[in-house]
Symmetry: C2
Subunit: 247 residues, 2 copies
């Protein structure tokens, strides 16, 4: 499994990915799932991936090959809008999955992948898009400024609670990490280290850091978070018979 | 969808079910999913259901028919252990699902159901069991004193955080309700009113109440819970560059 999320906020973008991969619980590994592309000075594109690891790796190899090939009809260096980058990634994803579909179907495996494509192209507003396995996409909105792929359910409540388009990037980063640790706590196939990217509008630089499994920051974050959940639970009212109807 | 949970604690049992049902988002309704059986003085059995509504209703009708039929080879009045009640419910569930399988397969519908069977039979220790669509079961344990069916992911973190076998029944009830409102917040197909059952060991009485959609208790619970989640988020540390490695 995997958990990746991207937020499109007033001041910029926050992207966070875990690194755990598994092909069965007896085959667990770590792979990067957050990739920064800066092929020309006027564009910064962050790719995050979930789904079949072979498909995502072949898609990334094709992206790199197109970037190295001046004759490539399309690449992350040539698209003129971020949605064109999303469609380009979607096309590669569909092509790779189709190429291997027969063989994968025969063993009951799913070869599809889902991507988050975030960033800024030229002077267009920064954006975050989710590319479905079918190659189409949706974008984040002011009403729902986050996108998730992979194991999306466990960490969704925190995003819904605390992510509004006008929170600061630093606030959003800690909400994202809280959502991540809630997910990792519930699903063994999501885990650290975590790759965090922060993009400030117009900067064309992604502040990209890796949060290690044994970092004291992560331990503090988890400790504070658990403490406050427990405090909240302690102060919840007891079930009041006067407010319920006995049946 | 549905969300039902049962906890087996030191002092007794806590059961909680939502009431929302849906056959597509354009066909949403409310049905009870928590049922108390007290067929003889020495047994109290609580059934909670998730899955195909027609299957669960037919299973309940068969349970009632068997209770009314002195010649029935097996019923909730004749089983001698709670696990036998679970196997009995599982057998009915498999029979009903199989009876309609051909017709349901033809329209791509799933006719299976999952049940929670909790309670006390005679002097045996109270217990809570989850009956799979295949008719087999698992039970709660001291290490994991809760069972969930239906939409289990959104509310799981709270149960894992705060449910230990030695919490009081009142504490457990508010944890259960917190888990429920987190789930209802995330999934439209889970919703109030909620049916809460509390069983104290040896009592053979289920304190059974319904918490209405518009109850002030529910509003207070949600308000306190959201306030404390926000407070917790406020006090989380910011991402500290000294504790992460820039890439």
């Amino acid at each position: 499994m995997t958990y990746c999320l991207a937020m499109r906020l007033r001041d910029g973008l926050v992207m966070l990915s875990d690194t755990r991969t598994n092909a069965g619980v007896d085959n667990v590994s770590n792979y990067r799932k957050l990739f920064v592309f800066h092929p020309t000075a006027d564009r910064t594109i962050v790719l995050q991936s979930a789904g079949n690891l072979a498909t995502t790796q072949e898609v990334l190899d094709r992206i790199d090959r197109d970037l190295d090939d001046p004759a490539a009809p399309e690449s992350l260096a040539t698209v003129e809008h971020l949605f064109e980058a999303a469609l380009y990634v979607g096309r590669l994803s569909v092509e790779v999955a189709q190429r291997h579909r027969g063989a994968l179907d025969a063993i009951g495996a799913d070869g599809t992948s889902t991507f988050l494509v975030s960033g800024q192209v030229a002077d267009h507003a920064p954006d975050a898009l989710l590319v479905y396995p079918a190659g189409n996409y949706i974008r984040a909105s002011d009403d729902r400024p986050f996108l998730q792929i992979g194991e999306t359910k466990y960490g969704k409540f925190l995003l819904e609670l605390a992510t509004e388009a006008d929170v600061t990037l630093d606030e959003a980063a800690k909400v994202a990490l809280s959502s991540m640790i809630s997910t990792a706590r519930a699903n063994l196939s999501v885990g650290p280290p975590y790759d965090l990217g922060i993009y400030r509008n117009g900067s064309h630089v992604v502040e990209h850091s890796r949060i290690a499994t044994d970092s004291s920051f992560l331990a503090t974050l988890e400790g504070v978070w658990l403490k406050h959940l427990r405090l909240g639970l302690d102060e919840l009212p007891m079930v009041d018979p006067a407010e319920t109807s006995l049946l």
